[in-house]
Symmetry: D2
């Protein structure tokens, strides 16, 4: 898509896939409102007093139907909102269209390139000359990252005149981030400084983003206050656990139609997300095996009758592999080579580095067969057997299905609204 | 769609939605083959001896990916095949296209009108002047019904010259059946007699069709031998139970994205299908209630901690209603009027008469809002609350998702192949 | 115990462990009556018409609290009753005492020797000169066996004058049976003939007994009509399944106090009993493995996420072994030698030949340490590791706990009463 | 029993029920050692360095088989130990005998009166003129309470010469505590002061005791350091959850033999203990209802398909009631009056004040029928219906069964040992 900002008849900026889906999006938003009593109660309780009146809020969080209800709760409390997704596959285009038409500036579509993704993030942060945002609703910390990297580059530039060099990193995605900052620097060398100064703070949604923030806090590099929404019990013990318990099988079924009963399924990690995934698979009739390095979590798995093994132990006999760790390099290409034909490999942790996608893509002679979007079969040349990778290694519940169901997101997002308001 | 038979370059007849989806269908058929060891073993074991060589087989059974593997197993054993679906919503268009292009005459698409449905059934039975079929693979008994009604009409016509009168029945669908027979009678008044004479027999897939056959047998009106595939243990205790355990939540999630955990779900009927549905809902975190008139099944529900109540007891407090009975008039419009706003009503029994769709459609002042195909919200005028009806009251797992997963259909269909061969 | 028949003040014969426990037994019988609505409804419905008036009924069925309610239902319908247990460990002495004092002739105590067991069986069949029984309520077929062997011996004696020779068999238990018949023959050479002639029939409770009866029917040796109570759906699909689901963990816990969660448990056989056992263990947090030779049952286990392996595969890594097959020689001494220290071995099938007790007892150098009655640790000399065998290889739920709970026995026994009445 | 301290041949003090059970206790202790790898690893790792050499440890914690392994781990690390139980019904007499004979001073038997209970506690704290203890291992805080009350009384006495007056309180148990202190004061008015001074601290096992300690800390009345063992994840998330998941059904079955499947069971409280209980009952086939005042826990119950209601809503239709709250006055006599005949009422929280035993005992005209020890049926005069109360309202898993299984207690007790050592 050409990266041009569009405007509604009322002058609000947006960039979405297909504005004609706005009516469909509105219908599903109305259904979701019934399922999201927490957010609707916020509107009823806080709406009259308009606690967010005048606040400029930027969100970087999966632009789907549930998030649409969050956004319209923020606007119902008085805020102005700009939004992007925090995952290239997680946008629901009808939700994006409805919000763009009716309520907020949205820059998001399903199937962004990484270049498009960061352009959208930049747009969502761009409140124009009046400045902003006042608050960030972040999920995974990409909006926060962009500001931190921007401020760092501006400081360097001010001191030494040096501009960021994308070629200074091997990481393809970080090259794009540096490119965006570099381009911005030329136009306005104080943009991110102004943002930092105006920002009241960020509320962070997920484990991965929270870890990044604690790291920055420890390093002394955190530039503004941050609220850890993730560790609210109504987030972590609900969204992570019960959300994944539903959306993992949902994603598996939509992507592959595979029968779960009778399969051997490996869940890497038995934290809250892993517990939800393991429960779902077990209940659907799979034989579940867990890999886990934390001894407490490992013992919990055993108490539920789930064996704890290493990936090496089971890599050649399992049918389904799910990463839930929040760490990187969990399933490597050398693992995937040993898997059974048509083994399914997917990730439901936040970032796409749990599965060694780079190793897979660059494996000599490998063949990628796209069954349908977000469902690829990768065939190894030696064996002519393939693994089926979902959502290109990204969050499979958002890439292959529609993410967590509304009710549990209401539990999560109500934290966001209350912390924000 | 214009009801014109098309032909492949090799001269095979077909009528499908979109032949360009054949490649996509082929990819998914190849995935399904790995998941259907029973059928593939039939090909390996019986293929060389070609036990179906020369046999003309008509199938009336959901034209989806799994059925595609069944059809190509029948052709691998030597048969010629013509196929239609047994449900207006159950066809997967890419599966239909792949089979039409590569293997058999297919007349089926997702979203047929009833007129189109019976036209397709007639086409699947029409083997031209050479005659046929030799065998019918039936699911629900519609192909068998058409032949029986055709023979009856032909006999009446021969004796009295009377032709069938569609106006003689109130049943909209049966009017169409009579219309088709009437039109056929003018062209060839012996067509169904010839079919009956050539037919070796029918193998029937499902409970509902089997009940019809036993009734005809009891009445002395059954015209040819029939094999009850449904009651094979590898069908009834697998397909009905484990198939529905997966495809019910699949259909619910694809159609509505609703969170199942925390909901009150009513399963009408606790036979094999009901047991599978109740297990799925319970495991996903719903509070399940069963309605059941059979005392043994009711006691089984209680032994699993599931209360057995009447629909009246719970109609106004439940969130999800599923009919699984195989009987008619289970959920009536007067029930639906009392339901909570956005209660979900769906059917996973064979026919669409478990839910009172006619009562709903003709309710004065009712408003139908189509959220997306096969997901409608019906709003009652008095309360402005609505119920969400899936797949227009037809099989929701096939209408809203892709039906049972491959492995369990392999268990079912292998019976069909072995009985046929 | 000295094998002398005692008499109540009213002249009713009995032999029980301790008559002073009758009050305690009566209290528990009264509790059980509340839990056994089927039997109590029989009393209410059929009591007034006294359908069993004058009938002499012999029962050979675990003499516990639940059976006590059965016996008093039979007497409430007019019958006279004599009773023995069908397992040397299954009697509850307080139940036996209460019934002996109040209602029927009981010959049973917990911990009979085999000699005592068959003496009790003979007593229960001995209705004196007036003759009887009219009906037998059998469980496992031992009462039926005794009559058949008796008749056979009497015929042989009549023809050839030959009396049975216990030394003609290696089977220790059958030697006792022959001994009893031999002794009886001297006193009354027509006793079993008269029984056979008077007998209206036997109703048989369990799978094993039913198999014996079908075998005799096939051989043409069955001497009187038999009713298969076992295959009533309210017996087989309730008692076997739900009964064992509760009484297996009950027996395990009372005998060993072992934590089930985290253990590897092997269930040999996945019929109705095996399904109940596997469900119980899985739910308690064990990792369950099934051994099964029937392909349908094996596939059912897989659909529930339970691996199906051979005993050899898992013998050295499992913690708990349960036999449920109804066949013999399932767990042999060579298996037990390979087990982990303190592995638990038990049987919940009907007879005690599923576990190779003879092999264990005669293993050179083996040491038996009785932890408490029905809980023995057998220590192998080579390794000094031991296995814990419950109830000496007999029904562990009756030997180590109190058998199935009342409600499910009400479902079973109500069949017995209705068939009998 | 006469409250006289006895002595072993080696001069160690004790008071147990029956020393002849020591061999049986030893056998079960040896079995338990295999199941308690955490404690055995402590012996292996810390035994050689004797970190507890010379330490005098008093324990007030259920004197059963698992605790026996704990005690012998403490002595293996060099400690001298005196022990009492923290519940009048929780002692296993064979465990007490084995420890008294072989390892430590034990003052405990199953079925103590409250007077005996506090006498035992006093004995366990009485290290004679040499003084002690150095450490307390407490469960529920009774040993800690006695010292605190003792110190308070001694201070008052020193200042004002006033001695404690048992008549100053209505609480029957506290009258006994005051009586003991009063008697002690006459003999040695500085006993508890010397204890306090020597004490290094207490490690507290359970939620209830921890709450008491935090309260004392907040009040500034806590006299010595305390370690909260309860909130170790390997205690609270294992012992409370998985322990109760096994020992609740164990207690129910041993006490009543009732069938759990098909019953309606109310679990009061859905904390860790309640979660374990609800899981056990649900899995056994009961329909579970939860009462809960904490909104997060209530929502968790709903997410598992468990309805959350008030006790009033369900009091007359449920079959089984379990209190798990750690609070008092949960099930009152006015509730029990409304229950179904033979409803089972039991408590698995720490103290016996969750169930209104006083109200029950003093209900006019009530009749108590003891079925067997720890299983009483209380019959109301108006209705002649009764409720069955387990363990007189005290911990039913310890009163009616043998408490938590060894493995999970190993997880708990290993914390105790490591904190102590």
């Amino acid at each position: 898509m050409a990266l041009l900002v569009e405007k509604t008849s009322t002058g609000r900026e947006y960039k979405v896939k297909d504005m004609s889906q706005a009516d469909f999006g509105r219908l599903e938003i109305e259904l979701a409102e019934v399922e999201m009593p927490g957010l609707m109660a916020c509107r009823a309780e806080f709406g009259p007093s308009q606690p967010l009146k005048g606040a400029c809020i930027t969100g970087s969080l999966h632009m789907n139907i549930q998030t649409a209800v969050l956004i319209e709760t923020l606007t119902a409390l008085g805020a102005s909102v700009r939004w992007c997704s925090c995952n290239i596959f997680s946008t629901q285009d009808h939700a994006a269209a409805a919000i763009a038409r009716d309520s907020a500036s949205v820059f998001a579509w399903k199937g962004e390139t990484l270049q498009e993704y960061w352009w959208c993030t930049e747009r969502a942060l761009d409140w124009g000359p009046g400045g902003g945002p006042d608050l960030i609703v972040d999920d995974g910390g990409d909006a926060t990252l962009l500001i931190h990297e921007g401020v760092k580059a501006e400081e360097e530039y001010e001191k030494t005149g040096k501009i960021p060099d994308p070629a200074s990193t091997d990481n393809a995605e970080f090259q794009i981030v540096l490119g965006i900052i570099k381009d911005g620097l030329k136009v306005d060398p104080k943009k991110y400084h102004r943002m930092k100064e105006r920002l009241v703070g960020v509320s962070e949604e997920t484990t991965t983003g929270v870890k990044r923030l604690y790291q920055m806090q420890a390093n002394g590099t955190l530039l503004f206050p941050a609220i850890n929404v993730n560790d609210s019990v109504t987030k972590r013990k609900f969204d992570n656990l019960y959300g994944c318990r539903q959306s993992l099988p949902d994603g598996l079924m939509r992507a592959t139609d595979v029968m779960i009963a009778g399969k051997v399924a490996v869940v890497c990690g038995y934290g809250d997300v892993g517990k939800g995934c393991a429960a779902a698979l077990k209940q659907a009739g799979a034989r579940v095996i867990v890999t886990e390095i934390d001894p407490i979590c490992a013992l919990q798995a055993l108490m539920e009758g789930i064996p704890v093994l290493t990936l090496e132990d089971v890599v050649s006999e399992a049918d389904i592999f799910v990463t839930t760790t929040g760490n990187k390099d969990i399933i490597m290409v050398h693992h995937m080579r040993k898997m059974k034909n048509n083994a399914i490999v997917c990730n439901i942790g936040h970032f796409d580095n749990e599965i060694d996608m780079l190793g897979l893509e660059t494996y000599p002679g490998i063949k990628r067969i796209t069954i349908k979007p977000q469902t690829d079969r990768w065939v190894f040349p030696e064996t002519q057997t393939g693994v089926i990778v979902l959502a290109e290694g990204r969050l499979m519940n958002l890439g292959c299905a529609t993410g967590h169901p509304s009710f549990v997101m209401s539990c999560s997002f109500t934290n966001q609204v209350i912390r924000t308001a």
